[in-house]
Chain length 166, copies 2
């Protein structure tokens, strides 16, 4: 049933689950249908190689983001040691797209970004003994904070707002 | 909303997803209800500390199993270098319970075992450059194999059967 190199049914299923995706989302991402995703996870069809590659690539992008972010945090903390840190996440796809257009090419869904954020939290705890809290962006609260502090919109402003939520 | 130490809504959701579990399974594992799990993932209630601890403990058990298994594979391969390996998984909860009673205390669901298996596959590829294939146990094929080879039921026999499926 499984191809010599490719991923088999249970592997495709747990790759998807590890990414935090539904079958419908995988169908969209791989330009297949939900019925096809169900079929390959039920071992009644092989997953197309392009679909396998797409999910494996997303997992690689996430792992790379985890490594880079944890390295960045480690470097930052040599100057300014902290044991707690806030990491902004985006509660809807619309907010994710609005605030992170630069990520859409590599991590197109807010769920993938959240999966990366969760792995960053785990890795920072394990390797750096830093407690990362995932803080979903609250637009009203963020705007009020910016006004009160006289800040423009930027990744740094979001990080400051998030830190103020801890 | 979030407690000072505990996990918040999005963290509980992505912890669950990273374990490959449904809300119903988390409700069973944590002796809560699906409605409660939905509520804490929607940030309309805090997850009970016991529930948080249960899921974090399961994640720790899985990470430990990943480390131990990869260490075991590395030690084995110093004697007998291979680039491919089969790892048996269990397609139903009934088969999982029948063949792995010793795991039920720590990883009670076959989905948790599969999540561990997927992480083992990833880690072995990354660290040892070994291709692990997850092979769902096929009872009929396994019994025929044992008869043909004159083998009793054991973890080793299952591993031999799985290796023959590659």
């Amino acid at each position: 049933m499984a191809k010599d190199i490719g991923l088999n049914a249970v592997e495709m299923q747990y790759l998807r689950l590890s990414l935090g995706l539904t079958q419908a989302q995988v169908a969209d991402l791989t330009q297949t249908t939900e019925a096809e995703v169900q079929a390959w996870e039920a071992a009644s069809a092989d997953a197309p190689e392009l679909a396998q590659k797409k999910l494996l690539d997303l997992d690689d992008v996430i792992e790379m983001q985890v490594l880079n972010t944890c390295d960045g945090i480690e470097a930052l903390f040599k100057k300014e040691p902290k044991r707690r840190l806030a990491f902004v996440v985006y509660p809807t796809q619309a907010l994710y797209q609005q605030y992170n257009p630069e990520f859409l090419g590599t991590l197109p869904l807010t769920e993938l970004y959240n999966t990366a954020a969760w792995r960053i939290k785990k890795e920072c705890k394990l390797v750096l003994e830093v407690d990362v809290t995932l803080v979903p962006l609250n637009v009203d609260s963020y705007k009020a904070f910016r006004e009160a502090q006289g800040l423009g919109e930027s990744r740094e402003s979001r990080a400051k707002w998030a830190a103020a939520q801890l």
